[in-house]
């Protein structure tokens, strides 16, 4: 059986170095299989986060040869095995150990987003009537598995560290899902503009490229939100109307 070399980042809280491991590879293997094999045979205390190993839970995010990916969905035959495969933790979040990062910030951001608020039920039995066409758009956003690869690759977070001012692509998608939810009656445009910093995104589409669920993050979520914010707060006509006391659109 063939062998391949894996350069895995080992260390704690930001300090560390690459360690090289040789391990046997078999047809169909994914990167997470190799990491597990190394863990079981050579490095018992290697820290890696994973759950389903089927691309559903979004736990095993890492940077493979510099590309943000799910380890469980990255086949070895898609990588050049004649040189070492590099595996590193995500960079936009505080490092914990080896391949594991601290994702608490993401959970804190989500809690700050005003929650779903449905309109009154349509039918006397307390249910709603919704057309499939109105569901489709939001269902795309609700495919998100919260792997946070989009957050990892977003330069506003990764390079500029604006975690306090910007919610990141994942939560723009989440907010878009709420704003476009056929039943939701709340309005999140003011916080989107202010504390969630939708304006900081300059549409480089890096997030869309890495999404393992192929959500059109930029085109379908972020740009429509930006447009809504612009229409509300920056459109000169709307501004004029507001000055003269007319109700907002």
């Amino acid at each position: 059986m063939a062998k391949a070399t894996f350069r895995i980042w080992r260390g704690e809280r930001g300090r560390g170095a690459f360690c090289e491991y040789d391990t046997e590879v078999a047809p169909g293997m994914v990167v997470l299989d190799a990491v597990h094999q190394i863990q079981a045979e050579q490095a018992g205390d290697l820290a890696v986060r994973w759950n389903c190993k089927a691309g559903r839970c979004g736990s095993c995010s890492a940077e493979i040869n510099g590309m943000p990916k799910l380890m469980c969905m990255t086949r070895l035959n898609a990588l050049a095995l004649d040189r070492p495969v590099t595996i590193e933790p995500m960079k936009a979040f505080p490092h914990v150990k080896d391949l594991v990062t601290d994702l608490a910030w993401n959970y804190a951001v989500k809690r700050r987003i005003p929650p779903f608020q449905p309109r009154k039920p349509d039918a006397p039995d307390g249910t709603w009537r919704i057309a499939q066409a109105d569901v489709d758009r939001v269902q795309e956003f609700r495919k998100c598995i919260e792997c946070y690869l989009c957050q990892d690759v977003c330069h506003v977070l990764r390079e500029h560290h604006l975690h306090e001012q910007f919610m990141g692509p994942r939560f723009l998608v989440y907010t878009a899902a709420l704003e476009m939810h056929p039943l939701d009656v709340d309005d999140r445009l003011a916080p989107l503009k202010k504390e969630f910093g939708v304006g900081l995104c300059n549409i480089t589409k890096c997030c869309t490229k890495v999404c393992p669920e192929s959500i059109a993050i930029t085109d379908n979520a972020i740009i429509p939100l930006k447009e809504r914010v612009v229409d509300r707060f920056f459109d000169p006509l709307t501004k004029l109307f507001r000055i003269f006391g007319h109700s907002e659109t």
């Binding site: 079981a40 559903r56 959970y107 779903f116 249910t127 919704i130 709420l178 056929p182």
Partner: protein
């Protein structure tokens, strides 16, 4: 010793899948202080992998459906050893629990008139599964998670419980560690809800995530609670089998619900050759009739591909054993063939089964709209678990509740697809409600410091035994034993051998050592999981040995038929005075007249 971080709550929920989150939401709404403990991050629990849908007799697609039909289907699927009161509550309450999710933001697929769409599934007489494509579990867990985070729950992510604590007979809390730092935590609580899911990781080939190490089962057992039905392990008929690294990953029953068919190497629809007597009246007479059923023809009967999972899994195994399998030792599951019937079939498949399309394309280089998949059985679900009161979900330890997969009763000898997601909603809600009520009525119990110290010493022991036994290797060996010797088809000789090998592995686990420190040390975590894995493995093997008949998911080669006498009891296990596993046959109480009449009527 004994350096730990203390916490105090009214209700402690262990597990943050659907059942745990639903219980936490309910308890929190009742106004008590609630903690949720989860081994992984919030929103990653195994519920996220549920695909096909949630069963509830909404009657949106076929108005002949109602709770009575759902009740009868569940009992038939469970081969009548279910806790019938749970089956009744489940069928009656599932519709309200599903509608409630919609009020919390879930977006199910719709019917033409804008209501929740329902699909066909194995063992359900009418289209009953509310769904979101093939990612229903994700929709459910995200809805519960996003609703729950605004309710003031204390969520402890990546924390693992090692032991339940008691004050006399009643529950007093739990002791565990956090994965990130390896610090110990003492959770004092008035009531504890176990919602830890199943035991799939006891087997080598499984659709379950790493967390499924039978924690709740083992914790309850060691706390003195009774467990039940441990012989009933469901093997889902269709898991991926090729390439080897994806072996076991689930292929949803939804594929068959949408018209997918199973064929052997000779191209035969082999399930037509073997239809069990209980289902003869409900099964299509021809391939054509089966197809019409999947397309919503109310006068057609369902194709045999939608028979119960236990039966389909055994038929697949037989085809393979008798040399009619696919190249990699499974059978063919073909959805691509519907292009003969439907225009735009490829697009239809991608729309209805997006995750399946993606999964096969990415992991196996197979385009399911153009070619058949290769599939075979995979360990999927544990029917057995903590024995609970049907209404309150309390175990026989006061203050200890269980809901979802780690509780027993609803599914009897075999679970119907879609009944797990409804199970965790209905009984998660009930466990939360009754745990909160229990907590409100009693003071905070005391904790025995010696019990805590003993648990801590045991947890740290692997660090003192560097490089003796590799915990990963013990885990793999134990998974092989269960896979080989206590799998789909069982026999006394093999199970006796399994128990012998498990005994050796237990000794090996006592020698398992780990390197490194306590910070996010997967080797240490694996070593600590071994106790639970081995305990549930032994319980399954012993229970399976004890039930000398074949029923539902439990099939004995040496007792291949159903024995009417054995249908009158459930097998209950608890920890004996000397620490041994004590089994008793507990008679099933006679059905209430009203329910008995339903079963007669729906035969």
């Amino acid at each position: 010793m004994s350096e730990y971080i203390p916490h105090e709550h009214d209700v402690l929920v262990i597990g943050a899948g659907g059942a745990g989150l639903r219980a936490a939401v309910e308890a929190s709404a009742a106004g008590v202080k609630v903690a949720v403990i989860t081994k992984s991050l919030l929103g990653k629990a195994h519920t996220v992998m549920a695909e096909g849908g949630v069963a509830a007799a909404l009657g949106n697609v076929d108005d002949r459906d109602n709770w009575r039909v759902h009740f009868a289907d569940t009992m038939r699927g469970g081969q009548y050893v279910n806790n019938w009161r749970m089956a009744e509550l489940h069928a009656r309450e599932a519709p309200a629990r599903v509608r409630e999710l919609e009020a919390w933001g879930a977006l199910f697929d719709r019917t033409g008139d804008g209501r929740i769409l329902q699909r066909n599934f194995g063992g359900h007489r009418y289209p009953r599964l509310a769904h979101v494509g093939d990612r229903t579990g994700l929709e459910m867990i995200r809805t519960l998670q996003d609703h729950g985070i605004h309710l003031g729950l204390d969520v402890f992510m990546e924390h693992t419980i090692l032991r339940l604590l008691k004050d006399g007979d009643r529950i007093a809390g739990a002791f565990g560690y956090d994965r990130e730092r390896g610090r110990f935590h003492l959770f004092r609580a008035k009531a504890v809800v176990l919602a830890t899911g199943g035991i799939g990781r006891a087997y080598k080939i499984t659709s379950n995530s790493w967390e499924y190490t039978g924690d709740g089962h083992a914790l309850a057992y060691h706390a003195g609670a009774s467990l039940m039905d441990m012989e009933f392990v469901q093997f889902h008929p269709t898991g991926m089998i090729w390439p080897p690294s994806v072996r076991g990953i689930l292929v949803t029953e939804g594929v068959r619900g949408e018209g997918g068919v199973l064929r052997n190497r000779l191209g035969e629809r082999f399930l037509f050759h073997d239809i069990p007597p209980l289902y003869v009246n409900q099964t299509a007479a021809s391939e054509e009739e089966g197809w019409r059923y999947t397309q919503g023809d109310k006068n057609a009967k369902r194709p045999p591909e939608l028979l119960t999972r236990d039966h389909v899994a055994r038929c697949i195994r037989r085809e393979v054993r008798e040399g009619r399998g696919s190249p990699h030792g499974g059978v063919f599951l073909d959805i691509a063939w519907i292009k003969e019937k439907l225009p735009n079939a490829a697009e239809h498949i991608r729309k209805k089964l997006p995750s399946m399309y993606h999964q096969f394309k990415q992991l196996a280089d197979i385009d399911i709209t153009a070619e058949p998949m290769e599939v075979g059985p995979t360990t999927h679900y544990m029917m057995g678990g903590v024995r609970v009161d049907a209404d309150s979900q309390m175990s026989d330890v006061p203050g200890l509740f269980a809901a979802g997969e780690c509780a027993a009763g609803l599914h009897g000898a075999n679970r119907l697809g879609g009944n797990s997601l409804s199970d965790l909603l209905v009984f998660g809600q009930r466990a939360g409600e009754y745990a909160a009520r229990f907590a409100r009525e009693c003071p905070l119990p005391g904790v025995d410091a010696r019990e805590v110290e003993a648990a801590e010493r045991r947890a740290l022991a692997p660090f003192g035994r560097s490089s003796s036994e590799n915990p990963y290797s013990v885990q793999h060996r134990s998974q092989e034993v269960m896979q080989e010797l206590v799998g789909i088809v069982r026999t006394e000789r093999e199970m006796v051998e399994a128990l012998e090998r498990l005994r050796e592995l237990h000794a090996a686990a006592e020698r398992a050592g780990v390197d490194g420190n306590r910070e996010y040390n997967n080797g240490w975590h694996t070593a600590l999981d071994l106790d639970n894995l081995l305990a549930v493995s032994e319980m399954v093997a012993r229970a399976a040995l004890e039930r000398k008949e074949s029923r539902g998911a439990h099939f004995r080669e040496d007792y291949p038929s159903k024995d009417e006498q054995c249908g009158k009891w459930n097998l209950v296990v608890r920890k004996g005075a000397g620490g041994e596993m004590e089994f008793t046959r507990v008679p099933i109480p006679p059905l209430r007249d009203e329910l008995a009449a339903i079963l007669r009527e729906m035969q």
